[in-house]
């Protein structure tokens, strides 16, 4: 987009245009708005489609969601028109009642607690594994490209396919995992039927799905660290840990801070893994905020649109707070992005 990269020259070009335009204009001085539009009309035209598209696909649902969260809308009172039946909307504005309910009840806070555990454990394990694998693959080892291919494989498989495959593996009676354990003389593990095992199982699947992304991103970061630094450190007598601690980690910081932020947001909202693997069960043991919000508006009857939107807005707010804090912390450490 030339408009963004060289704003000044466009303005200048547009200004030239303006001079020519004004001469046709009988000399009346244009208003501030018109002047601004006149100066940057080209930029506005270029940006307009994007603004409109974003407005329609993000802005409208967002505003509508926030509005619904301030009402008591559910399936029985929203407007609908089915053939001969025309039913007007009868839901009412209830202010912040939904937010008060969510934040004072124990359902939201309980789900939030598990969501945080889920996010932190998934991201930290994924990052640790990804970093370790990236370091291994960054060395000259035989068959390196084959390993890389294999390790990226989980990423290439569509998410729902992997999750269904895991669901078969986890099956208590007929699953491969329990068959292998039985071969070793170990009793069947209730992977998805016991609350604690289910939590462990969903984390394991998400880690499995997330490692390739981490690995590839960190591998890229590792490759951008100049080899001379390591050579110099070695000359100075730094051992492997010191080289890792003082060259690799700082060198990776810009990559790792980005992937951790992204991975946190993705994991926090990782709908398919939970939904397809356990549907939030057993009971509500593995229900995270997004799957619960989905449940409110699609699985219970009558569908509770208001509560679902409330949870949605709260999720958005939480993630915004997280991103802001994270950014600030990074800036304090001298990393601006």
């Amino acid at each position: 987009m030339a408009v963004h990269t060289s704003g000044q020259s466009v303005a200048k070009a547009a200004g030239d245009d303006l001079t020519r335009g004004r001469s046709r204009d009988n000399g009346t001085p244009p208003g501030r708005l018109r002047r601004a539009l006149g100066t940057h009309w080209y930029a506005w035209t270029m940006v307009a489609p994007v603004v409109i598209v974003i407005g329609v696909i993000i802005g409208y649902p967002l505003v509508r969601g926030v509005y619904l969260s301030l009402t008591d809308a559910n399936e029985r009172n929203v407007a609908r028109s089915i053939g001969v039946n025309h039913l007007p909307a009868t839901y009412e504005f209830v202010g912040l009642d939904n937010y008060v309910d969510a934040l004072t009840g124990n359902q939201f806070l309980g789900t939030l607690g598990w969501t945080l555990v889920w996010t932190v454990s998934c991201v930290s394990v994924t990052f640790g594994l990804g970093l370790a694998l990236a370091n291994v693959l960054n060395r000259r080892i035989a068959g390196r490209s084959v390993y890389r291919m294999l390790l990226i494989l989980p990423w290439a498989v569509p998410g729902f396919v992997s999750v269904f495959a895991w669901r078969f593996l986890y099956n208590e009676d007929n699953g491969l995992l329990n068959k292998i354990l039985a071969g070793g003389g170990i009793d069947a593990v209730p992977w998805l039927n016991d609350p604690s095992w289910a939590k462990l199982s969903v984390i394991a699947v998400n880690v499995w799905l997330g490692v390739p992304f981490m690995m590839v991103a960190l591998l890229g970061g590792l490759q951008s660290i100049p080899g001379e630094l390591y050579e110099a450190a070695e000359m100075d007598g730094a051992n492997a840990w010191q080289r890792f601690r003082h060259i690799t980690m700082p060198g990776l910081r810009s990559v790792s801070s980005t992937v951790i932020l992204l991975s946190t947001i993705w994991t926090f909202n990782m709908f398919p893994v939970i939904f397809l693997l356990t549907r939030g069960g057993p009971g509500e043991a593995t229900q995270i905020l997004v799957t619960q919000a989905y449940k409110f508006s699609f699985e219970i009857s009558p569908r509770d649109f208001a509560q679902s939107s409330t949870w949605g807005v709260l999720i958005l707010v939480l993630l915004m707070i997280f991103a802001a804090v994270y950014r600030r912390v990074l800036r304090k450490q001298g990393e601006a992005w």
Binding site: S81, G281, E284
Partner: protein, 426 residues
Amino acid sequence: MRRGIAATALVAALALAATACGGDSDNGDKGDKKSSGELSGTVTWWDTSTVGSEDKVFKKLAEDFTTLHPKVTVKYVNVPFGEAQNKFKNAAQSGSGAPDVIRSEVAWTPDFADLGYLAPLDGTPAVKDEGDFLKQAAASTKYDGKTFAVPQVIDSMGIFYNKKIFKEAGVEVPKTIDELKTVSKTIKDKTGKTGLYLRGDDPYWFLSFLYGEGGDMVDAKAKTVTIDNPAGAKAMTVVKDLVDSGAAKTDATDGWNNMQSAFKDGKVAMMINGPWAVTDTYAGKEFADKANLGIAPVPAGSAGQGAPQGGHNLAVYAGSKNLDASYAFVDYMTSAASQAKVAKELSLLPTRTSAYSQPDVSGNQIVGFFKPVVDKAVERPWIPEGGSLFEPLKVEYTKVLTGQTTPDKGAKAVGDAYRKLLKDWK
């Protein structure tokens, strides 16, 4: 780098937004408008019967409708039972993609009707022989003084058992919960197999135990929530004890498939199930000889024996563009002749009195067994919230079975959820 991250974040945000709004596939073709006289157009029917066993019979039956009305096209769509309610709601609410006729579970019917999704059928050909239908079956089709569906099949639950395993263990069919426990123990000791498979992911399978202890979900006449009465908590204790004592095994995910495969492969000796499972069960290797399958009433609890009344209705979508053809289709699918065919091939119970006198029906053993069970079955509350009662129960029932809560607390939590759902009930 800075711009790169902004772009990545934007892409991520877009991806999140895109995944957030998953749409359903909608097929908007509704066929032609009806011309005067002969029926024409397309009737799309969402069937929810079991794929692989029941669906073939229903598909054939539905398509035979065109021999009566050659200008009508029948579009048969099988929607898995577990998804049909949501799919229909999505389609009906958005006004596109809904079928003309849906096979609606009995508890869904008043819910759909209350939401305005169904066309009233009074005075249409669909209900021309109203008097012929079994009273219990017709009860779930009424809402607000109008009829919104026609009963297609009626069912209840019994205990399915593997006669071979019973013989091996030398036990008789249990008639009470206590007998069930001793029978299971004997089976375990003698054959190493588990006695009973109990679905832990669907509270419908809990209802027999609830009724057996004299409980119920709600009392619709007195507008009272009854699930958290002592009887409700007792029923929770009973199922928990069955699992803990090893008499029954359970599962919180894929319950249906696991139950069917365990029973069909002879890994468990008993399961609680209904006539809809018969055809699928016969397909299992243990039941290549159909005589190996025994069916008996569910074991009685401390207050007696009880099984829920269930079944399916056919309802017409209010937004259908081919209402007349749809009414005729519903009438045809629920006619005594069609019901007799279904009973013959799938052992499903007809909803018409006249169908029971047909030889195909009266000669069917399974139908013969289930008819008295259905006659005695516990009628469920036919209120719009009837279907909504299951979700809170499911959560707590699974929690009780997996040890996340106690039976008392579980029953109490369901009661609280019901009171929130049913405003101004006691």
